[in-house]
Every structure is written in C-alpha cells, then in structure tokens.
Amino acid sequence: MQKGLLGIAELSRGEIEEILSRARDFQPPPRQSFKRFDTLRGRMIVNVFFEASTRTRTSFEIAAKRLGADTLSITASGSSVSKGESLVDTLNTLGAMRPDAIVMRHSASGAPQFLSRYLPIPIVNAGDGTHEHPTQALLDARTILDRRATLEGLRIAIIGDIAHSRVARSNIYLLSKFGVSIVLCGPASLLPRDMAAIAPGVELTTDMRKAIRDADVIMMLRVQLERQNEASFPSNEYFQFFGLRPEHVQLAKPNVIVMHPGPINRGREISSEVADSQRSAILNQVENGIAVRMAVLEKVLAP
C-alpha cells in the first residue's frame, strides 16, 4: 500500500472496500449532526491547495477536525509559491514542520506522485491536474452504495469533458475494478479514443441518449472552461447536446441516480429541474465527502 493516497489506479479492490465500509461508520444518522471522534488527536494535517478549491478543502478540514486532528490550510496565492519558490522547496519547508500528513491539490498532473518520491510524509491527493481525484471517486462510490446493494453489474454513464476530468479518471479506475459497465459520453474533441483502453469495461459514445439509456447512474462532469486553452467545441451548443435535462432522465432506469461533483453550472451541463429533482444525489455526495475523507485520513494516519 502506498504511504498516502495518490490515486485509485494503484488501489486494490479490497483496499477500496475497506475505506468505503469504514466511511459508513462516519456517516451521521439522518437529521443528526456528525459525531466527533478523537482518533487523530494530536496529529497535524496540512492542506496545501495550489489550485483554488473551496468545497474539497473545506471537506478535508472538517473531516480532519471531526477526527480530532489539528489542521492548517494554505492556498497558493497566500504562500511563497507566488514568490517563485519551487514546488520541492515549498513542500520541503512544510515537511520540516513535521506534519503527519499533507493533503494537496495541484494543477499539474503527477505533482503529488513526484513529491511523494522525495518526501517521507504521506500525501493525500485532493486532485492533480487532469489525472486523479481519488477521494471524489470514493465518495461517489459511497453515494451509489447508499442506494444500491452492489456496484457489480451497474451501468454508469459519465458525461461531459472527459479529456480534462480527473473525476472521470478516478471513477473509471474505481468502477472498473468492481465490474461496472462504464459509458463515457461527451463532444468528440473532449472524448479521447484512448479512454476506452485505460481500464476494462469502458465504452465511448458521443450520443447522450445512447449513454443514458438504461443507466443506473448518471455522473455529470463540470464543464472545465478553465482547463481549455482552445475551443474544443462550440460552447453555445454544449447544453443543447450534452446538458442533462428531464427528457434524458426518462431514458434511464426508473430509479436512476444523478450525480455531479460540483460546483454545478446550472443551464450549462445540467438543468435546474434535474439538479433539484428526487433523482439527484448531489447533496448526499457532499455529505459523503466528509465521511469518506475521514476514512481516508484515518487509514493514512493509522498508527
């Protein structure tokens, strides 16, 4: 087992199941607040976010606090990064302060992998470039399993900017390990053909209706305009062809689960009717984010 959590690709099915099952213990009973634990009392977790993020950072902070750990969050704009310090130097400096773990987000794919080769401190990847976002995939799996007995045999559509999505990659790696049949859908220029070969059980389509037909789960991706340095599709056509609307949801299984990693762009990739509907699990995902991150931090920091 890697010393932190860098990606889903390297995890075994058993390791994933262990985290998902432990996360259940951290879910609050309905209409009650989260319980506090003191498993990580006296431990120090540093969140280093080289890329803006409110929800993921907050979610990790809350998870750490609920386990009794001390946390400190640093964002790039407020750190020496903006003064030209290299990534290695920044992290060495933080490392010298002896935290027990570092949670990091970075806009460069592989940045946490690179650092973990040089730092003895476990690193939890909170999203690296267009590579992986492992805790997102874990919380998505937890959310599905709250409503389905098993992942095995499900049909799950992932729709949007696949090429630039770390959420898509982590979900593909995770779901594939559990025998899910995965349909990726998006504009052809954002749907690399090689995606079909990165894990077993993946198919591609540019036809939204085909992707959704008989789906158990629809995962919408955020349109990442900030990751595109060129016009890969005519943006005014996006919602028309790849935005999720009520008529699409009709094509899926009756009890389909609609998910989105947030923050959502209403009217761009998902209509408000769908986002706010009974089928939407978007707010459960947020809740599960904390539970899953508690399970991850506990596992990473377990003595």
Binding site: S86, A108, G110
Partner: protein, 427 residues
C-alpha cells in the same frame, strides 16, 4: 614524431569495406597504415585484443549549452562526456544563448572548442535569426566560419515559405537542412506521446501526426528545391514510411534516430519521471519496431544521441514544467549493441557505419574513415564486457538520464582523437 600502434583488434571500417584482424599505425595524428603485425618498436602501443577498432564515432546531433547555459553543460564538459561515450566528433545544435545564427557565435564555439574540447566539435548554424522562424540567419557567412549544417532544432520552422527559402539557400551553400519535425499547433502543451499512457496519466499528448505532417511537408519541399534534407531524431512509424518513400524517389533525404527512440517506449516511463521526457517523445512498440527496421534496412542513415543536458533543479519540478531532453553520449554504443547487434537485427559493420561513414557523408565531414592519411580518430569498443551505467560518474554537468543503473553488455573501451587517447575505460 609521435607514433601509436593499436594492436591485435578487429578493425571494422565500412568506408573501405574492412572487417578483419589487423593493427592500426598512427603517426602524428594521422592514420599511417592498417596491416598485420605492424612493427611497434619505439611506438606507444594500445592492446586492442578482443576489441573492435573502428573509425571515430560521430554524433551529429548534440547540445553543448555553451554559450549561455553553462550551468547545464559546457563545450569542455560535453566533449569529455562525448569522449567517455566513445565519440570523437560531435555536432552541436545552435540553440545556445545567443543562438548560433551568425559567424561571431560560430567563431566563438570553434575557438572555445580548440581551447577546451577533447573531441572534434562541428557547429550547426541556425536556419533563421534567433531561430524565430521568420528571417533567414547569416547562413553563408556561418558556412565560411565552419558550420556543417543548418537547423533550428527544438524550434521547428513552422512557416513553409521560410523553410522553402532556407532549403534553396542551403542548397547553394551546399549545406544540409536538419529539421526538428514537429507541428507546434498539433503538439502545443504536450508533454509525452499521445496515447493510452498520456490518457491514463492525465498528461497532454504530442500526437505522432505532429511529426508526420512536417516530415511530409518538408519532403515535398525538398523535392521542389533539390535541397539535402535531414530528419532529426525520427520517432514515428509514419514518418519512417515517408522517408523511405522520399529515398525511393531518389531525393536527397536522410534521417537519424536516437538510441532512446529505438530502446524505449512510453510504457517504460515510471509515472511522471522527467528523465523520460524529451522531444520527440518516446512512442509505442510499433514505432520502436519501425525504427529498428529502418536502421536495419537503410531508411535511417545515422544514430545520433540528441545529448540534451539539463541540471537537476530544472528536472526536479512538476512534470509539465520540466524541460525536454536527456543525456545521450555514454549510453549510445551500449544501447546500439543491445538493441541492434546482440538482438541480431544488424551486423557490426552496418552498426559502425551508422556512427561513422554515414553521418560523415551527410555533413561532408572528412572523418569517419581510417583511410591512410585521414585524421586518426578511433573508437575502440568491446562486445561482451558487462558494465553498469552510473550517471553520477559522468563528466557531463547534468544527470538527466533514464539509463542510470542500466546493465550493458559491451561498450566503449577507448577513444582516440588525432592520435591521442582522450578517454579509456577505467582510465
């Protein structure tokens, strides 16, 4: 009079179709004689028993970083690394600071090489001013100063009209045009070969087509202009086919391949290890197979290393921020033996010609031969001795090699430049 006799080796000189046990006598820096049982009385003797004795190897594509980037490499340290790799002549690309786009820079490089270098240094001049791809550089005066080719290596000439004019001009100056083939619009932002690995790792891809379209364009322009055109570091199976097509049409089109492009694929890269990051990127098994085939069937004329030193702090960054390029000199012969000779793909004499006669012909160098009277540059190598590459011991200023720790079977044993032993194994 100084005299050196290299005794007891197997002399392989493709330029004279020699492959037999013989001694080589060197006098005052020139080849005096090749023959059996040459009398070595009063001479220095190099015992080459069990070794191959070849004309000095030429690396027609290297980066010495001086002037301007002396923290990465200098003409002196680069030449020492070349000698330690068995190379006696190296051709340095113009992407220094300032760019070698005028005779003053060319003179500086040659002067510095005369003072400091332990091997022969041949500068390659820029095609365009500052390699900006717009206005032609001072090609004719650089030719007078001593350049052996023109190239904007690292910065392909994107404007087809400009490269056409450069080809016309180069033809009249009797210089080959060497192109780093990469359509910059297609490769923009790319960090590795576009394929399953780049998709898995979330790294932006450099598609094979970015190389192919420029090779295709340039071959058509070489036909139009009659220029001598050379494809640098070919890496794509499609580009290979186009070079073969150009040759079949009788065009003056040649190509080189680097050892890393015939030894590694993008699947060999440990995730995000920048010592595997270079341009063109490591591609697929099918491309590596095509390159080995091309070396075997003559489509590829030369092996060149594209020695591209970068200091540790530049390679110790996020993968996407790391510069492109790896060291090449000291692992070239070992990799050629491993992938081409020991694997049974090409014969030894052919392998030697890829390092000697062929690059000498492409660049019109009076090197790469052991004919009587030629400069006594010799590369002596063994076929069987086992050794492990330790990049920490390299004379280069940089350490960016993916082959650190690689175990080799056979490799360079001694390097002789103008009759002087400038490097020897365990020496």
């Amino acid at each position: 009079m100084s005299r050196l006799v290299v005794k007891g080796g197997r002399v392989i000189d493709p330029s004279q179709n020699i492959d037999r046990a013989a001694d080589v006598a060197i006098e005052d820096g020139s080849v005096r004689d090749i023959g059996e049982n040459i009398d070595a009385t009063g001479s220095e003797v190099f015992d080459a028993s069990g070794l191959i004795v070849a004309p000095g190897f030429i690396d027609m594509h290297v980066h010495l970083r001086e002037p301007g980037f002396e923290h990465s490499e200098t003409i002196e340290t680069g030449s020492r690394s070349a000698a330690a790799g068995g190379f006696t002549s190296i051709c340095c690309m113009p992407n220094t600071q300032p760019v070698n786009d005028n005779a003053t820079v060319t003179h500086f490089i040659l002067e510095r090489a005369r003072e400091r270098a332990v091997v022969n240094v041949y500068p390659i001049g820029a095609i365009t001013k500052n390699s900006a791809g717009e206005e032609l550089a001072a090609i004719a005066s650089m030719k007078e100063a001593g350049i052996v080719a023109i190239s904007d290596d690292g910065k392909p000439v994107m404007n087809a009209r400009v490269i056409r004019r450069a080809m016309e001009f180069a033809r009249s100056s009797n210089l080959p045009v060497i192109q780093h083939c990469e359509d910059l619009h297609l490769s923009a932002g790319g960090d590795m070969h576009e394929g399953i690995q780049s998709t898995r790792l979330g790294l932006r891809g450099i598609p094979r087509a970015s190389e192919d379209v420029m090779v295709a364009r340039d071959i058509l322009l070489a036909e139009l202009t009659g220029a001598r055109y050379h494809v640098a570091h070919i890496s794509s199976r499609n580009a290979m086919q186009m070079v073969a097509f150009a040759k079949s049409k009788g065009l003056s089109v040649t190509a080189e391949a680097t050892p890393h492009h015939f030894a590694l694929t993008n699947n060999d890269m440990p995730p995000y290890d920048s010592n595997y990051k270079m341009k063109p990127p490591l591609r697929d098994e099918s491309d590596v197979g095509a390159i080995v085939d091309g070396l075997a069937n003559g489509t590829i004329d030369a092996i060149a290393t594209d020695h591209a030193p970068h200091p540790g702090d530049e390679k110790m960054q996020e993968f996407e921020r790391c510069p492109f390029g790896i060291l090449g000199f000291e692992t070239a012969i070992g990799l050629a033996l491993e992938r081409l000779y020991h694997s049974g793909r090409i014969g030894l004499a052919h392998m030697v010609s890829l390092f000697t006669e062929n690059p000498a012909r492409i660049l019109s160098l009076r090197r790469g031969t052991l004919k009587r009277g030629a400069a006594a540059d010799l590369t002596i190598f063994g076929l069987e001795h086992e050794w492990t590459y330790d990049v920490a011991r390299s004379p280069s200023k940089s350490r960016n090699s993916p082959f650190h720790g690689h175990k080799f079977r056979g490799g360079q044993v001694a390097t002789i430049v103008r009759g002087q032993i400038v490097w020897r194994l365990n020496g």
